[in-house]
């Protein structure tokens, strides 16, 4: 069929119709000239509308004529697609970080009735997580059914072997490479490139090839979105408009400008009855705003041509903001504001400027319009990878109440998307991950005592229990969309424990002669500044591992390949059981050799050793950014008081299913093969997981 030719013919017919109509409407055909001149703008508007109507009519007629054939085709192929399927629909409700110890306790106390019902009707198991038990690693394994050496995600961070620089492990954004320089402006002539670093193939692509559609909502490590037969909204790793992983702005009349962890401290200048400031956007752009008091309790914020009412302690709705990105070019973002202090000083918090889902500067959904569709249907929503602003709470820019309100609001947005997808899906997969469980536990675990019980006098003692009950409510509401032909899974990628003491393994490596500083340095800076690579045999950064400075791999590697195994064995022997000198407790339960626990083509990018910390311990804040510190052990005083970067055996996730499955020691790598098996599809040989098969009753 010659589509281009047909399109041309259609255009000629429409143009002829338009000319006839124009002649008729202007009276030219009748010789009457009393009408005023109609300019070309009106003509273009008319032809635009006319074409739309004509094309819509043609599409409707065509659709009507071929519908019997479409129905017949679907009936024939559906039998093939679903012929061997055991289910019509699979629902994955992912609750990031839902801990089995707390879940089991509160189920036993009758506080989680819907999860208990799921256990009763189907199964409940502790779900083996990945090594290391980190969300980007575990959810990548969930999606692909393979171990990290086959999907290439080992940590939040990866290292550039050429210069030891850290980079986000999951996505790489490269700016436009061709520009047109006009004065101070640089107009990009090419688009930024965005590359997903997660390898292998997620189950939803395999389903898509077999004509089984999926809706994948906020499953981590899906930015940028891949093309497939289905819909997907990206999650973890999606940057903000400034290109960071989420940097807030903290304005105050009392603040000296400067950087704070995870954000910027910025001044508010008094101006008449109010204050004014500048919100930093991408590439040095700024938006001026004014804040003025209208009544003792009410304020108004003027920004980017819009006025928004504010009350102290209440978030504004998402505001759409446009930042200049060159002559005649704007980029769009969204942000929410919160007035935190009003007397005598004034303080204003602004969330990171997130990509506007209706007009994102980078791709965040597949198909591209899906993000906008959700926003139009349900309202604007957070798009940042890790949208709950944990650093703003750590740094005191917002308080606990404000953090919880933010997290709940994001959860409500996610619920809207999830239930919308469930209502629209009769066949296929709906998978949605809720992050609230992870973020709130990170920030409120300090409210639990060492045994994980709620401290009675703590001001936010019930927050985590309330959170689990709320997740149970979502499980209960999901039951409405579950029938006999639906497989319903609730799972978490890892559990949780407290984070009381940080271990700086760079300091330990230095103290034990494996890492050396340049002679003039007493400590290293961030990301190995001041490290003497010519005398360093091992180093650490990120949250998961120790790397050997290997000859032929690292740019300044000194460890010969034939000595690597012996060095690894030596480090494993010395670090396993490392005691905390203050308490005498063991801080490292196991040290895993990645060459033993992983198998796959991306092994070279993996850490060489994976320390399994004991609950209560974790890589220290300074070691995570590749730094040494005076001592190996340090207390963690941050609000970020819960964590899961420990030995994987200590923090399994949970797995609930609404059907009886033979699930002995299930692992998160078993989920993708299970999906394929339930839809009657063969399991690819490269997958490491196995299908959890149904138990015949």
């Amino acid at each position: 069929m010659n589509v281009a030719g047909n399109s041309r013919r259609l255009t000629y017919i429409c143009a002829a119709l338009w000319i006839l109509c124009s002649l008729h409407s202007t009276g030219a055909g009748t010789g009457t000239l009393e009408h005023a001149y109609v300019g070309p703008g009106a003509g273009f508007a008319f032809i635009g509308s006319f074409l739309t109507i004509v094309l819509s009519l043609l599409a409707s007629v065509l659709s009507f004529l071929i519908w019997p054939f479409r129905i017949l085709w679907l009936a024939v192929t559906r039998k093939g697609r679903f012929g061997k399927a055991q289910v019509k629909k699979i629902i994955f409700l992912g609750l990031d970080g839902l801990d089995p110890k707390l879940t089991e306790r509160w189920m036993a106390e009758g506080k989680l009735p819907n999860l208990s019902r799921l256990r009763q009707e189907g199964i409940y198991r502790r779900l083996r997580t990945t090594c290391p038990p980190l969300s980007p690693v575990a959810w990548s394994t969930f999606a692909t059914g393979v171990n990290p050496a086959k999907h290439n995600i080992f940590d939040f961070l990866n290292r550039d072997l050429r210069n030891y620089a850290p980079e986000l492990s999951s996505a790489r954004v490269r700016p436009a490479t061709r520009f047109w320089q006009i004065g101070k402006w640089r107009i990009p002539l090419s688009r930024p490139s965005v590359e997903l670093r997660r390898k292998s193939e997620p189950f939803w692509k395999i389903l898509g090839r077999n004509a089984i559609g999926s809706t994948i909502l906020r499953v981590p490590i899906t930015f940028p979105p891949e093309r497939f037969n289905g819909r997907l909204l990206s999650a973890m790793s999606t940057p903000d408009l400034r290109g960071t992983q989420g940097s807030f702005s903290w304005f105050s009349t009392a603040a000296e400008p400067g950087a704070t962890e995870g954000g910027l401290r910025l001044p508010l200048r008094r101006h008449g009855a109010g204050v004014e400031g500048r919100l930093p956007g991408p590439d040095q752009s700024q938006l001026e705003f004014r804040l003025r008091r209208t009544t003792p309790d009410d304020w108004e914020l003027d920004i980017d041509g819009q006025t928004c009412r504010l009350k102290s302690g209440e978030y504004t709705p998402w505001l759409r903001l446009r930042f200049a990105a060159g002559p005649l070019r704007k980029v769009r973002g969204i942000a929410r504001f919160l007035l935190t202090v009003t007397d005598p000083e004034i303080a204003l918090y602004a969330t990171p400027i997130e990509l506007d889902p209706e007009n994102p500067a980078l791709p965040i959904s597949h198909p591209g319009y899906y993000a906008a569709y959700l926003a139009k249907l349900l309202g604007t929503y957070a798009t940042l990878g890790m949208a709950e602003d944990t650093w703003a709470l750590n740094e005191g820019a917002i308080d606990e109440e404000a953090f919880l309100n933010q997290a709940k609001s994001i959860q409500a947005e996610r619920e809207g998307m999830f239930f919308n997808a469930l209502e629209r899906t009769r066949r296929g997969v709906v998978a949605c991950v809720f992050d609230t469980t992870d973020r709130v536990q990170h920030m409120f675990y300090r409210q639990l005592d060492a045994a994980g019980h709620q401290a009675e006098d703590a001001p936010y003692a019930g927050v985590i229990e309330d959170l689990y009950r709320d997740m149970d409510r979502i499980v209960g509401n999901t039951f409405r969309h579950v029938d006999e032909q639906t497989a319903f899974f609730v799972l978490s990628d890892h559990g949780f424990c407290s984070f009381q003491r940080g271990v700086n393994l760079n300091s330990w490596l230095r103290d034990n002669g494996y890492l050396a500083l340049l002679e003039e340095r007493s400590e290293s800076g961030d990301y190995f500044e001041g490290i003497d690579w010519d005398r360093t045999r091992a180093y650490t950064f990120g949250l998961s591992g120790i790397y050997l400075n290997l000859q032929g791999r690292e740019a300044h590697g000194i460890v010969p390949k034939n000595e690597a195994a012996a060095l690894k064995a030596e480090l494993i022997a010395k670090l396993t059981g490392l005691p905390d000198p203050r308490t005498g407790d063991v801080s490292i339960l196991n040290v895993y050799d990645s060459a033993t626990v992983y198998k796959g083509p991306y092994l070279q990018a993996a850490p060489d050793l994976l320390p399994g910390f004991a609950p209560g311990y974790r890589t220290s804040w300074s070691a995570a950014v590749g730094k040494t510190a005076a001592s190996v052990f340090e207390d963690n005083h941050k609000a970020w008081s819960g964590d899961h970067c420990v030995d994987p055996a200590a923090v399994p996730g949970v797995l609930f299913a609404n059907r009886k499955l033979a699930a002995h020691d299930p692992g998160i790598e078993d989920m993708a093969p299970t999906v394929l098996d339930l839809f009657g599809l063969p399991i690819p040989k490269w997958m490491d997981g196995r299908a959890l098969s149904p138990v015949l009753e």
Partner: protein, 64 residues
Amino acid sequence: MRSTVTIKLNKSLCERARALVEKAGYSSLEEFIEHAMERDLATLEDAGSKEELIRKLEGLGYLK
């Protein structure tokens, strides 16, 4: 984003690769070829700005 590029490869080389792709742990021949290209490109391209890479990590909750 992916784009389709037509590259003519030696037939026997392609067959050898195809036979071993799954055994090596790749999900497709495309993935294998991409990985081979990435490894070689990393030795040819200049490393990016370390400061810019660090700036992009700002706000990641797990890291100070």
